[in-house]
């Protein structure tokens, strides 16, 4: 039964009408799969185009004269490296250097937008408000006003391009522009969470239904739920807060060194802890693994124990089986000295020890536009 207190995205009725299986996720009632099923949705994104309603994601708007310095202080990547029209992957950290959340930072001429995970909206908001101090900024939680559709896959560019006068082919990866798609005013961002080329379209909540109808359907983009979003992002080696990363691990341990700019010329929350960790060296790191039984007969799921040399090393952080790889895959943390590809581990799958092997991430190469 779906809880009455769950929030709904503006497209809730459309998902239900399409026959989607709705589940609670991050405080929202969200489609996990449509009748086509996770595997068909997954393939649509790898081979054609898929569309995801990810309006549950949170958005914070930061305006005011100190906006860049403020976001520089609350995120670990370098906002100073962003020009207007660019986006970057980043994170909000605790003083211990662990994740409060991962996020996207968009720089506009006159504002910044920080996009966070739905399940963390309230926590993240409290976290950044607590850092405000005397900074001359205005913070707005615009999560309820903003809707977000992700159009992903090799045919995404042609599809979105056919509905707009904006030259979307000219938008580089991790850049965005403002313009109309199907008559709806959007931020058109060349980003995504699938490892495929594609766009994320931010629009007003009241306009998203028009946008959805223009993009979704036969010959256009296949409606895809959170189930396919998870298998796609895991194949692409993209971390999920609550599974691969949380407030007990740091970006250095998670292999996200590229978002940690210790020398960006500004202090940020978690800087001292990460400097220390970099100096001392990390003791564990996130790795990908494949269960070495083919065809896969068991899935190593989140929370299952992972054994190295007969001793418990960690738990499965993310775990699934995917149609592209046709294997049970997952992630876990291992001691850095024993984290090389080829390292043999075992996973306790409901009492059976399944052999697995560390592999290089991502499981499926990215095909994003550079």
């Amino acid at each position: 039964m779906v809880d009455q207190t769950l929030k709904r995205t503006p497209l809730h009725a459309i998902h239900v009408a399409l026959g989607a299986k709705m589940v609670p996720f991050g405080g929202y009632e969200m489609p996990v799969a449509y009748p086509a099923g996770i595997n068909a949705e997954h393939r649509a994104v790898r081979e054609g185009a898929g569309i995801f309603d990810v309006s549950h994601m949170g958005e914070f708007e930061v305006t005011g004269p100190d906006r860049n310095a403020f976001v520089q202080k609350v995120t670990c990547n370098d906002v100073g490296a962003l020009r207007p029209g660019q986006a970057q992957y980043s994170a909000l950290l605790t003083e211990q250097g662990t994740f409060v959340d991962d996020c996207l930072v968009y720089r506009f001429e006159d504002k910044l937008m920080v996009v966070v995970n739905a399940s963390n909206i309230d926590k993240d908001w409290d976290h950044i408000v607590a850092q405000k101090g005397g900074a001359n900024v205005r913070l707005r939680n615009i999560s309820e006003e903003v809707a977000l559709l992700a159009v992903q896959g090799p045919k995404a560019e042609a599809l979105v391009g056919s509905l707009t006068a904006v030259g979307v082919a000219m938008i580089p990866y991790y850049h965005f522009t403002e313009g109309k798609v199907a008559g709806v005013q959007c931020f058109i961002s060349r980003t995504g969470y699938t490892g495929e080329d594609g766009f994320e379209l931010y629009c007003r909540a009241g306009d998203v239904e028009t946008l959805w109808h223009a993009l979704a359907g036969p010959g256009r983009a296949e409606p895809c739920g959170l189930g396919a979003r998870d298998t796609l992002r895991l194949e692409a080696g993209l971390p999920l807060y609550g599974s691969d990363i949380d407030d007990t691990v740091t970006p250095l341990e998670a292999g996200l060194n590229f978002i940690v700019k210790l020398d960006k010329g500004a202090t940020f929350v978690g800087l001292a802890a990460l400097k220390r960790q970099k100096l001392e060296g990390i003791t564990r790191r996130l790795v990908g693994f494949t269960v070495t039984e083919t065809p896969p007969r068991m899935i190593a799921r989140h929370g299952y124990d992972v054994f190295l040399d007969g001793r418990k090393a960690d738990i499965v952080r993310s775990g699934t089986v995917t149609p592209t790889v046709n294997a049970a895959i997952g992630t876990t943390y291992l001691p850095v000295t024993q984290a090389k590809p080829g390292t043999k581990i075992e996973i306790d799958i409901r009492g059976k020890r399944a052999p697995a092997e560390v592999v290089k991430l991502p499981f499926v190469p990215h095909r994003t536009k550079r």
Binding site: K21, V32, A33, I38, G227, R297, M298, T320
Partner: protein, 129 residues
């Protein structure tokens, strides 16, 4: 609305029992409702012919992308046949749960146990349809 054939019997755990040409043997699988709830099935772990199970013993496991579930034996008996097609095409459970997606055929020990199972109306009520 899911498909709940009138001539079958059901468990509260969403297995069905279907008669076969041999009166002493029944076909067992999971219901249309169950396959819909599980989503894409990726593996079905089944016993070998000859294995014996008691009423509501676990006879196997079904893995879907988002969930794993145990399979319960609706009646006491001995496995006489296993659906080998599920090994290479587990999605048959989604496509045709009462037909090509069947799981095991069981020689029933005590036909009286059949009376403990739900009929289609009771099963429909159980799943809220």
């Amino acid at each position: 609305m899911s498909n709940i054939p009138k001539d079958l019997r059901y468990t509260k755990e969403h297995e069905y029992v279907k008669p076969t040409a041999d009166k002493a043997v029944v076909q067992i699988g999971i219901t249309d409702y169950a396959q819909g709830e599980l989503g894409d099935v990726v593996y079905v772990d089944l016993p070998k012919p000859g294995a014996a199970f008691g009423h509501m013993d676990v006879f196997g496991t079904i893995e879907a992308v988002k969930a794993v579930s145990e399979l319960f034996c609706p009646v006491t008996g001995t496995v006489v046949e296993v659906n080998g097609a599920l090994e290479s095409d587990p999605a048959l459970v989604n496509k045709d749960p009462y037909g090509a997606g069947w799981m095991i055929k069981l020689r029933v020990k005590d036909s009286g146990e059949m009376a403990t199972l739900l009929d289609s109306a009771a099963y429909a009520k159980h799943i809220g349809e």
